[in-house]
Structure formats: structure tokens, C-alpha cells
Amino acid sequence: MVIEFLPFALVVFTLVGAFIMPFFAHWFPRGCIPLTLGVLGLDFFMAITLLLGVKSRGPTGYYIGGWVAPWGIEVRGDGIASIMVLLISFIMFWTVVYGMGSIKKELPGNREGWYCALLLLISAGMMGLVISGDLFNMYVMIEVVSLSSVALVLAKGGREVLPAALKYLLLATIGSGFILFGIGFTYILTGHLNIGFAAAELMVSGGDYPYLSWVALTFLVIGLAVKGGLFPLHFWLPDAHSTAASTSSAILSGLVVKVYAVVVMRLFFQLYSSEMLLATDLDRILLVMSVAAILAGSLFALIQKDLKRLLAYSTVAQIGYIFLGLSVFSIMGLEGAIFHIIAHALMKSMLFLSAGTLISRAGSRMIESLRGIGRVMPYTAGIFALGAFSMIGFPLLAGFISKYLLALAGWDSGNYLVLPLMVLSGLLNAAYYLPVIKVLFWSEVKGPQTREEGEISGSIALGALAISLIILGVIPEVGRDFIQFAASWLWG
């Protein structure tokens, strides 16, 4: 009983936190970050309870307000939803811990309270998106996420973020237009907005309207690919992710682009049946797009001189991995994609946060100005190096496991090119991360000379993320049980 109610309670609880935050900021400004941490910490414990409960008792559904589907809005507590909710609350919690020191420094004026409200709002939006079992509710949550992520980019202030945020907003609006159109087509086709009922109806009558279902799916996938930054629809991503404050970048790059991939999973495996998908050749198109994303993202990253832009292009490449896992169309590919969502969320937030500390010390985002900073900030730069090694795919780190799973899935399903692609992309990652590490550690110290780490709260947050990355890499079984469960339920 309680378990069924938990996913909905999580979202509402976080949303209430977001709405009382501005008042709180007015009367008691010092308490904003502790309150945010409290809300996210409680979310984290609720998410663990949800995951364990779902694992032992099977997926649950809950109808908001007692209105049963097809009319009411269904909230799903299945494997993928609970894993994502756990991941979101975990990353958000440690990002806010990191932000205790940096938010005040990076944001102009006294915007801490509003920023905290935004952080809670975007977590509520992402959680609402992954647990939603209703197409229109998904659309509303997608809008909540995309508007608040534009605001997260804007929060830094200054004139540099404005064009990036506007570009992001325009592209996100086009994306959501496509998604809404796709939902409209699905509604014409099935007469339902609830995913379960729509899927049942598609099973019966979807074959009679092959073109309409193809159009609906194409609109949905285009919209989600724009929002998720899949190459070649990624061009808003590097600007938005590199100009934002470091905590915002960590959230945008680590979590926001992933929740759209989760929506794609739901649409592919829960709404449309696999025969229908294979008949549309969409898997081939996605395969080509994701291979292009992996190669092009890495090649663009090679020529960047700005550290945060380099990390943003690396995100473009990593989104390719996730969609690659979806496009091989097997349960193992799905597992690889989910594992990569988790691993990339951990390592990319770690990279952005540690880069934020290094950049604020050096005073510039250019890689050139970070010369030798690893000698004066060995801990922070070491965390950066750890994240980079995980990206390259060194064994014993989580990045290796997801590459291994994806390569295995490709081999199993007859896409023999996936394995060499993984090796090649690992080499490309090495080609742009290793020079940065060389600049950080093995060059003459330029800029600050005294040995001093960043804020203590920042170091703690980076340490926690690094430890979880290593745990996931050394004993992947802790995560794989849950991921296998989630993937097999999605596969149906």
C-alpha cells in the first residue's frame, strides 16, 4: 500500500519544497541550502525504499485522486522509474552539497533561495517524468524540466549566458512541439493517453494504420532527440552546458538529458510493440544517429580549448552510447543503456563539479590557463582524472562496465561493428582527456602557487561521487541486479 503511493509522494513532496523555498528565502535565507538538502535526502531514502519494495514485490501502479485509468492519471513505480528516482535524488543531493560553497560565489546577488527552489523544481519535474504512465502528464513534466533547465542556465547571470539560454529555449520549444504533435497522433490512433491502454489498443488496431503509427513515433522520437541532444540535433547543448554555473552544468549534463532517453525507452518498449518498431526501420536510423553522435561528439571535443565546452561535447558523444544501447534492440542493449545512464550521470557530474573548482581557482575556463593546477590542487584534479579515466573506459571504473555491456549486446544481436566502435571511441576519449590531464599535472605551474583545495563541502561531495563510481565499477553486481530487473520488465 505504502509502496504504491511512494512515487507520487516523492514528486509532491519535492514540489512542495520548491514552492515554500522562496518564502523561506525571504524570512530565513541561511536555511535554504539545508532545507534543500533535507528534502533531497528524504527523497533519497524514499527512493531506496521504493526500489527495494519494487524489487521484492514487483512493479506497482497508483492512480492519482482515485480516478482509475483510462481517465485518471497513472503513476508507475516500476524498475526503471525507481532506479531513475534514486539516481536523480543521489546526484542532486551531492550537487547541492557541493553547492554549499560554490553557489554563493558563482551566482550574483542574493539568489540562493531562488536557485534552491529551481533545483527542487527540476528534480520534481524529472522524477515526475520518469514515473509518469500517462502521455500528456509526460508532456507537462517535460515542459517543467525544460523551462527550469533554461532557468538553471540563466541563473549564473552575466551577458554570456543569455544567447545560450535563448537558443536552448527555442530548440526545447521546437522539441516539445514535436512531442505534443506525436502525442496527438497517438491519441487519434488509440483514443487513450494512458500508456498501458494505448499499447493494448495499438496491439489490436495499430497494424491497420501503419503510416499514422509511423508518423506518431517519428514525431515523438524527433522531439525527444532534440531535447536529449542526440546528434545532429545537439547544437544547443554545448553552449547551454558550458556557460552555466558548475552545479547547473553538472545537473544538466548528468541528469536532464538522460530522462528523455528514459522516456524513449518507455515509448519504445511499453507503448509500441517491437514488431511495429522493427517494421519502421527506426532502429537502423537511431543506430546511425548514435554512431554519428559518438564519433562527431568526440571529434568536436578534440578541438576544444575551453574545458567546459570539451566536457559538453563529451556529453554529446555519451548520449550516443545510451541511444546505441536502445537501438540494438535487445534486452542486453537495454541493460547497457540503463547502466550507462547511471555511470555517465556519476562521472559527468563529477567531472563538471571538479572542473568548476579548478576553474574558479584559475579564474578562466581555458585549458591553457589550468597549467599545472593539479600540483596545487591534487585532490580535486585527481577526482577529475578519475572521471576522465572512467570516460576512457579503464577497468575497475563504471565507464568500463557500461562499454563492456554495450559491446556484448551489440555482438549478441549481430551488430559486430559495435565492439570496434567502443574501442575506437575509447581511444578518441583518451585522445582528448589525456592531454587535459597532462596539462593539469605535468606542466609548469601557472597562476596560483600555494597548495590549497577548494571548499571542504565540495571535496566531500566529489569524494562521495568518486566512491560510488568506484563501487559501481569494482562490484557492478550491486547495480546490475536492479538493472536486469528493470530491463526485463521494460522488455515485457
Partner: protein, 119 residues
């Protein structure tokens, strides 16, 4: 294919046209305000589409009248579009406020000029 298909389904064709016109404007216009107008045209296309989905020829508003045998229009798409309009309104408001900020700090809302200043 018979031409009558187009005649019977003209709201759908118009909505697709409006939608495409909208994002074409967003991509091709250099003036930032025109891009916001493009957003609104695009969203109007979607709204028209949803209203056309819900409409039934000869249907009346879905209000219960005692003893009357009536065909009702599907109210659900209209209700959805109410949410859509609110979303589109907030996107427009956010975009316009960003454009005001851009004008204040760059003194232009013309895209090529803006790119030149940012270099």
C-alpha cells in the same frame, strides 16, 4: 489518392502547415522577436490539431441536458490544450524576458549582429 481526402481533413493539413511554418520562422528569421512569434505560430498549429481531433461533425458542447439525445464533442483535447496554452504562454514570457536582457546587455536583437558582438 482521391482529392476529397484533403477536403475532408483540411484542419489537419492547416495545422501541419502552421506547425511547419512556425519552426521554419524560428530557424530562418534573424530577428529574435520574430522567432518568438514563430514559437506562437507553431504552438497554434498544435492547438488547432488537437481541437480538430476532438471535434465531431454536428456535435454539441458536452453539457448534459435532461432527456436530449445528442452527439457530444470530445472535451478531452480541449482540456489538454488549455494546459498547452498555459505552457506556451510561459515559454513566450520567458523568451521575451531573455530578449529584453539581451537587448540591455548587447544593444541588439538582430542575430548576425549579436553573433558579431559575441566573437
Amino acid at each position: 489518392m482521391e482529392l476529397s481526402i484533403f477536403g475532408a481533413n483540411y484542419p489537419y493539413i492547416f495545422s501541419i502547415l502552421l506547425f511547419s511554418l512556425g519552426w521554419l520562422i524560428i530557424f530562418t528569421q534573424a530577428n529574435l522577436l520574430k522567432k518568438v512569434i514563430g514559437i506562437n505560430i507553431m504552438e497554434s498549429g498544435i492547438f488547432l490539431f488537437f481541437l480538430a481531433v476532438g471535434d465531431i461533425a454536428g456535435g454539441s458542447p458536452p453539457i448534459y441536458v435532461e432527456g436530449a439525445e445528442q452527439v457530444y464533442v470530445n472535451p478531452l483535447p480541449s482540456a489538454l490544450i488549455l494546459t498547452g496554452i498555459v505552457v506556451s504562454f510561459s515559454i513566450t514570457a520567458l523568451a521575451l524576458s531573455i530578449i529584453i536582457k539581451i537587448y540591455q546587455s548587447y544593444r541588439t536583437i538582430y542575430m548576425p549582429e549579436l553573433l558579431r558582438i559575441m566573437e
